[in-house]
């Protein structure tokens, strides 16, 4: 068990190192002089800001020192929690800005992922019950997964927001409110959250439903299903077993799909101007704030790694097979 966790942590550690390295490499190995183009693109008018940024750059880039030293300097900055200062929102530190936006993205992502996963799985299992259901749920599921996140988001914003007027179409909460622990603020938050959530949820839902449908068909053909059928066990019991067993690969699927869903969240946020990381990415792009951009990148990577790790642990807890294999059981 510990060995397994250790090994997983090792892989994630390496991934983190790779991510940081990519982050470090991109500005260095892209054509052009990064410092000059970054600073000039940032159109920093304030000489003080320019100086601070140049100082920071010189420290993290240290382009006159040997590459390996530059690399370690980059890490050193990272461990101090120093991701630089935002160019766009000068003089705020990048970390502060990101932390302010993270709750919105998480608030969108977590429910969308978890609910779409649970409901998608149930839907998929439901679809596998009959040919008619299968032939309706399946194509719909495929169309849904094939829908570009932003397009669905646009259509929903248009239909339910602009035309229908049921939901607000932009922002994280009403412009009339200040965050507070009141019911009014909460419902307002929910009403702003709902459309972006819905569009992510719907697209992700299709994928899970399809995955579950395919898994469960394999499980229903498995030997234990046949055996139980031969012993006259009711469909219900067999289906329950198959569902549970088909859930397990879906947990791994969750880890694999994470990247795609995050991409979807970013696009969806942009459409709804939702104040999460996606909008922040777009803003940092538009303002050529590369510190911010790279900071967000690292944050997302760390988030994904943590999520993966949680999924791994959950998987171990849920699947007796891996658990047994890890505690070194018989056979």
């Amino acid at each position: 068990m510990w060995r397994y966790i250790g090994r997983k942590l090792g892989i994630y550690g390496i991934t983190f190192v790779v991510a940081v390295t990519i982050n470090w490499m991109i500005p260095r190995f892209m054509p052009g002089d990064p410092v000059r183009s970054m600073l000039s693109r940032a159109s920093v008018s304030d000489p003080e800001a320019l100086e601070r940024m140049t100082a920071y750059y010189n420290e993290v880039f240290g382009l006159d020192t040997p590459l390996h030293q530059q690399y370690f300097a980059f890490w050193a900055g990272l461990f101090r929690g120093d991701l630089g200062v935002s160019v766009w929102l000068y003089p705020e530190p990048v970390v502060d800005i990101i932390l302010r936006h993270v709750p919105f993205t998480l608030g969108l992502l977590l429910p969308a992922i978890i609910l779409s996963w649970i409901i998608g799985n149930r839907l998929g299992a439901f679809a596998a019950r009959s040919k008619v259901l299968d032939n309706t749920v399946l194509p719909i599921g495929y169309i849904l997964t094939a829908t570009p996140y932003m397009w669905l988001a646009l259509l929903l914003a248009w239909a339910l927001g602009v035309v229908g007027g049921f939901f607000p179409t932009a922002g994280g909460y009403s412009f009339a409110l200040t965050p507070s622990w009141t019911w009014g603020f909460f419902t307002n938050l929910v009403s702003h959250w709902f459309l972006p959530f819905l569009s992510m949820f719907v697209v992700a839902l299709g994928g899970w439903a399809i995955g579950m449908r395919n898994m469960i068909i394999y499980e229903l053909e498995a030997d234990y299903s046949n055996y139980l059928q031969a012993l006259g066990a009711p469909r219900r019991l067999i289906r329950r077993y198959a569902f549970r067993n088909a859930m397990l690969p879906q947990i791994t699927g969750l880890a694999v799909q994470l990247g795609t869903i995050i991409a979807g969240a970013l696009l969806t946020e942009v459409v709804f101007n939702y104040p999460g990381l996606g909008t922040l990415i777009l803003n940092s792009l538009n303002n050529n704030d590369f510190f911010l951009l790279q900071g967000i990148f690292l944050f997302v990577v760390v988030g994904v790694l943590i999520a993966n790790f949680i999924i791994d642990i959950v998987y171990v807890l849920v699947d007796p097979r891996t658990r047994v294999r890890m505690t070194g059981g018989a056979s």
Partner: protein, 317 residues
């Protein structure tokens, strides 16, 4: 008489037409009888086993009847068969190693199965433990997952599980083929023990290994190309087989002790006919050294001696 099978015909649907997997099978199984069912691959022995408990999606009941304890089994009607399954007819599948739900503890799976079949698990709990001990398993296997057991242990769990409701008929389909020799022996002996203790009334033991049949079966039925070739008591089959196929089959078996330096055994030339469009007459004709004109007609399954039935024109010879 536990089981009476009359002219049973079961076809397999395939793209190119129906495969006549069982083409008129007639036999009876006495109370307490263990019948070995032997033959080459594709002879229909597994199909016969499945037909008696659950036809799979591609199988179609074409004709004939099956009676169990004097009651007709509605084998073509999947739903109507349900009450018979497990309670009256049970199965040890050839895939016993993977027959257990990998994510359920064994005890729980058994409980859930029992409950779904209308049996209160508590009522049979003691019996379950007793039988597990009988096959050499600690009762604590019930608290374990299948992956924690070895192949032989899983096999025995399935054996106990399948027979827990004392069925009249147990079908053991290649139940020991995947096991090592030593495990195979103890499993087979346990099966015989189950019959002796009355846990199962009668048993059909499907196998390709005639020497194994010899160790445990009371009678042997040899099938060839969807039909019965010969059925007799085990001793008769081993010592005085009448059908040329049976004879050649037994003759091709090397024994511990036979070596090439002593004798060179011979196989049976040729391959079994396809059953999509089976040949007329005796189906063994093409490979039979004794074949003649007469064999162009289908030989009936005739009783040449009490309890010894053969389908061959040449039995007299």
């Amino acid at each position: 008489m536990t089981l009476r099978v009359n002219d049973l015909k079961v076809h397999y649907r395939t793209l190119r037409g129906d495969v006549h997997a069982l083409d008129g099978v007639d036999f009876e199984l006495a109370d307490g009888e263990i019948m070995g069912l032997a033959g080459e691959s594709g002879c229909g022995k597994t199909t016969l086993g499945k037909s008696l408990i659950r036809l799979d999606g591609r199988m179609r009941h074409v004709g004939g009847t099956v009676e169990l304890d004097g009651e007709e089994l509605p084998i073509a009607d999947d739903r109507a068969m349900v009450p018979f399954r497990y309670h009256r007819v049970s199965l040890i599948p050839q895939y016993a190693m993977s027959a257990l739900n990998p994510t359920r503890k064994i005890g729980r799976m058994i409980d859930e199965l029992l409950r779904s079949r209308g049996v209160r698990p508590r009522k049979v709990a003691d019996e379950l433990r007793r039988r597990l001990e009988l096959v050499g398993l600690e009762p604590d296997v019930l608290g374990r997952y299948p992956i924690e057991l070895s192949g032989g242990m899983k096999q025995r769990v399935v054996m106990v599980m399948s027979t827990l409701l004392d069925p009249s008929l147990l079908i053991a389909d290649e139940a020991t083929s995947a096991l090592d020799v030593s495990t195979q022996r103890s499993v087979v002996e346990s099966l015989v023990g189950f019959r002796d203790r009355g846990y199962v009334k009668s048993m059909i033991f499907v196998t390709h290994d005639i020497s194994l049949v010899h160790q445990m079966a009371d009678t042997v039925m040899v099938m060839y190309a969807g039909r019965i070739a010969e059925k007799a008591s085990t001793r008769t089959i081993i010592e005085a087989p009448r059908h040329p196929y049976t004879r050649m089959l037994i003759g091709a078996l090397p024994e511990v002790g036979t070596t090439t330096s002593d004798t060179r055994l011979e196989g049976i030339p040729g391959t079994p006919p396809g059953l999509l469009d089976p040949p007329v007459g005796c189906r063994f004709r093409a490979r039979c050294p004794l074949a003649s004109e007469e064999c162009l007609r289908t030989p009936p399954l005739t009783e040449v001696a009490p309890g010894h039935r053969v389908a061959c024109w040449k039995t007299g010879a």
